[in-house]
C-alpha cells in the first residue's frame, strides 16, 4: 500500500491514500465539489471524467475534473461550496 499523502481541501489539511484522486480527497473532506447553476451542491457522478460534476479548483486552476487527477503532496483544492 502506498504511503498516505497530505493535501489541503478548502484550507484544511488531510491525509489521503497514496494514488487517490482529488475527487476522493474532496469526498473524504466531507465537501461537495461544485454549486450548480441554480445553487445545488453536487458531488461526483460518473467517476470517469465524463459528467463534469466533480469540477474543482486545483492549485488555482479552475474547472479541473477532480476524478481524473491524482493527488500530489501539498496540492491545494478548493470547492465551490
Amino acid at each position: 500500500m502506498p504511503e498516505p499523502i497530505t493535501v489541503t481541501v478548502n484550507g484544511t489539511s488531510l491525509a489521503v491514500p497514496g494514488g487517490a484522486t482529488v475527487a476522493v480527497a474532496i469526498v473524504l473532506a466531507g465537501a461537495a465539489c461544485r454549486k450548480s447553476v441554480t445553487g445545488e451542491t453536487r458531488g461526483p457522478l460518473c467517476g470517469m471524467g465524463i459528467c463534469y460534476e466533480c469540477r474543482a479548483v486545483i492549485n488555482g486552476q479552475l474547472h479541473c475534473r477532480s476524478c481524473q487527477i491524482i493527488c500530489q503532496p501539498g496540492m491545494e483544492v478548493r470547492t465551490d461550496e
Binding site: V16, P17, G19, A20, T21, A23, V24, V27, L28, A32, S36, V37, T38, E40, T41, R42, G43, P44, L45, C46, G47, M48, G49, I50, C51, Y52, E53, R55, H63, C67, Q68, I69, I70
Partner: protein
C-alpha cells in the same frame, strides 16, 4: 501560450481500456510505430482501473505485452478535435498534443446510462461504475451502506467489489424482470467463461437481497443522500444508505467516431469484418460497436490491431470467437432494455440536464432535441449531453442531430496553438 507537442504514428489508438490495449499491442507486434492516447491517469479503462501494479491479473499480462511490443503510451490526454485529416488534437496537462496517424483505432469505451429521478442530483448518488471507480481510486468504503440499483450485469460486479472492500449492500435493485433474467442466465450457460464468472459472483454476493423489477423512485437527504425509496414488485419501500450507486446499463462513447464521419446506427459505430468503419483507415473496437463486455472488447481489439497493423489475414481465425461473443451481446441488449415505467420517474421539477439545471417540465414543452437545446440550453453544458442525451433519448425519444468540435471542453489556448499544414509551410517557406 503553451507549446504544442507533435508526434506521429503508423497506428494511433484512442482509448487504453481492454479493446485499446489489445489493439495497440497487436498493431505494435506487427512492427508498427504505435501510440495509445487515453484520458485517464493510467491504462486499463474502467474495468481494469487501478490494476496496473497488481499481480495475477489479465490486465498485467496485456501491459507487459504492450511494453514489450514498444508502443508509446500517452495517459491523461484527451482527444478533442480533428483539425485536418489524419491529425487529432488532444489536451494534456503540459499543453496540447498534435497526433498524426496513418491508421486510427477508436476504442473509446462506454459510459453508464443515467436516468433522472427525484434526488438523483444529491451528493453520494453516483453511478454504479462511478462509485466503483472512486473506490478503486482510493475512497474507503468499509462499513458504508450502499444501495446498488439500475440495470445490467455491472450492478452485480459492483456490489461484489464493494462488499469485498467492506461495504454493506442492503439491496440490489434490477429494473429487468425475472423473466428476462432467466433468459439471460440460460444464454450464460453457452459461455463457459461467463459461467465461471457467474459462479464466482454468486459466491461473493451470497446473502445480499436481489430484487428484479425494482428501481429507485427517489433519493432523499439533507446535504447528501440518507435514504432511497425503491419500488419493488409494485410497492414502495424506504432503505437508509450512505451511497446510492445507480446506473442503467451502458451507452457507447461514439462522439469521436461521429465527429470523424464514421457511420453510426443507433449510436453504434458500424464496422466491417476487420473492424474498419465506413471511413477507410479508421477502425473501431469494443463497446462503441455494441455493448458486449470484456471478452468481446479484447477480441475486437486484437482484430482491429492486426488489420490496422497490416496483418489482416492473421485476424481471420478470431472471427468465430467474436461471432459467439456478439451473440451474447445481443442477449445483453434484450435482457437489460429499459421498461417503460422508468419514463415516469422524473417529476416535473426534477432536473434532467445537470450541467444547466433544466427540469423535466421545461423539456416536456418541446418536441425535438434541437428545439429543447435552443430554448433551454439542455445538453449545452460541459458534459455536452453525455449524461442528458441518452436520458432524453429514452424519456422523449429525441435523437441528437449533430456533433461539433471540440467534442470535450478544452482550454482556449489549445484551440489556437494548432496551425494547419498549409499555413505552416507558408510561414516557413516565406512569400514570393
Amino acid at each position: 501560450m503553451s507549446n504544442i507537442t507533435r508526434d506521429q504514428f503508423d497506428v494511433l489508438v484512442v482509448g487504453g481500456g481492454p479493446a485499446g490495449l489489445a489493439a495497440a499491442t497487436c498493431a505494435a507486434e506487427c512492427g508498427r510505430h504505435v501510440g495509445v492516447v487515453d484520458d485517464n491517469p493510467a491504462l486499463g479503462g474502467q474495468i481494469w482501473r487501478g490494476e496496473v501494479g497488481k499481480a495475477a491479473s489479465e490486465a498485467v499480462d496485456w501491459y507487459a505485452r504492450l511494453r514489450a511490443a514498444g508502443a508509446n503510451v500517452l495517459c491523461g490526454a484527451r482527444v478533442f478535435h480533428q483539425p485536418e485529416p489524419e491529425v487529432l488534437l488532444a489536451e494534456a496537462p503540459d499543453g496540447p498534443l498534435e497526433l498524426k496517424y496513418k491508421k486510427l483505432i477508436l476504442a473509446t469505451g462506454a459510459r453508464e446510462r443515467f436516468l433522472p429521478f427525484p434526488g438523483w442530483t444529491l451528493p453520494n448518488v453516483m453511478g454504479a461504475g462511478g462509485l466503483q471507480a472512486l473506490v478503486k481510486s482510493g475512497l474507503p468504503i468499509a462499513g458504508k451502506r450502499v444501495v446498488v440499483a439500475g440495470s445490467g450485469p455491472l450492478l452485480l460486479a459492483v456490489a461484489a467489489y464493494l462488499r469485498q472492500h467492506g461495504a454493506e449492500i442492503p439491496i440490489i435493485c434490477e429494473q429487468a424482470s425475472w423473466g428476462s433474467l432467466v433468459g439471460f442466465s440460460l444464454a450464460l450457460l453457452r459461455q463457459p467463461q461467463k459461467v465461471r464468472q457467474g459462479f464466482a459472483l454468486r459466491k461473493q454476493l451470497a446473502g445480499i437481497s436481489f430484487a428484479a423489477s425494482s428501481w429507485p423512485v427517489s433519493a432523499r437527504g439533507e446535504r447528501a443522500v440518507e435514504e432511497v425509496v425503491i419500488s419493488q414488485s409494485g410497492k414502495n419501500k424506504t432503505v437508509p444508505c450512505d451511497y446510492l450507486a445507480c446506473g442503467f446499463h451502458l451507452v457507447p462513447n461514439s462522439e469521436l467516431a461521429a465527429l470523424l464521419g464514421c457511420r453510426l446506427r443507433d449510436d453504434l459505430v458500424q464496422v466491417d469484418d476487420y473492424q474498419q468503419t465506413s471511413v477507410a483507415g479508421i477502425f473501431c473496437a469494443g463497446e462503441p460497436t455494441g455493448i458486449g463486455g470484456l471478452e468481446l472488447s479484447l477480441v475486437e481489439g486484437r482484430i482491429a490491431g492486426l488489420a490496422a497493423g497490416g496483418s489482416a489475414p492473421a485476424a481471420k481465425p478470431l472471427f468465430a470467437e467474436r461471432e459467439k461473443l456478439r451473440k451474447f451481446a445481443r442477449v445483453l441488449d434484450r435482457t437489460f432494455s429499459l421498461r417503460a415505467e422508468l419514463r415516469g420517474l422524473p417529476l416535473p421539477e426534477t432536473i434532467v440536464c445537470r450541467c444547466e439545471d433544466v427540469t423535466c417540465s421545461r423539456l416536456a414543452q418541446h418536441t425535438s432535441w434541437r428545439a429543447a437545446k435552443l430554448q433551454t440550453r439542455c445538453g449545452m453544458g460541459p458534459c455536452q449531453a453525455r449524461v442528458c442525451g441518452p436520458a432524453t433519448g429514452f424519456l422523449f425519444g429525441w435523437a441528437q442531430d449533430s456533433i461539433r468540435p471540440p467534442i470535450f471542453p478544452t482550454r482556449f489556448e489549445n484551440l489556437i496553438t494548432f496551425s494547419p499544414e498549409a499555413e505552416r509551410s507558408e510561414i516557413t517557406g516565406g512569400r514570393g
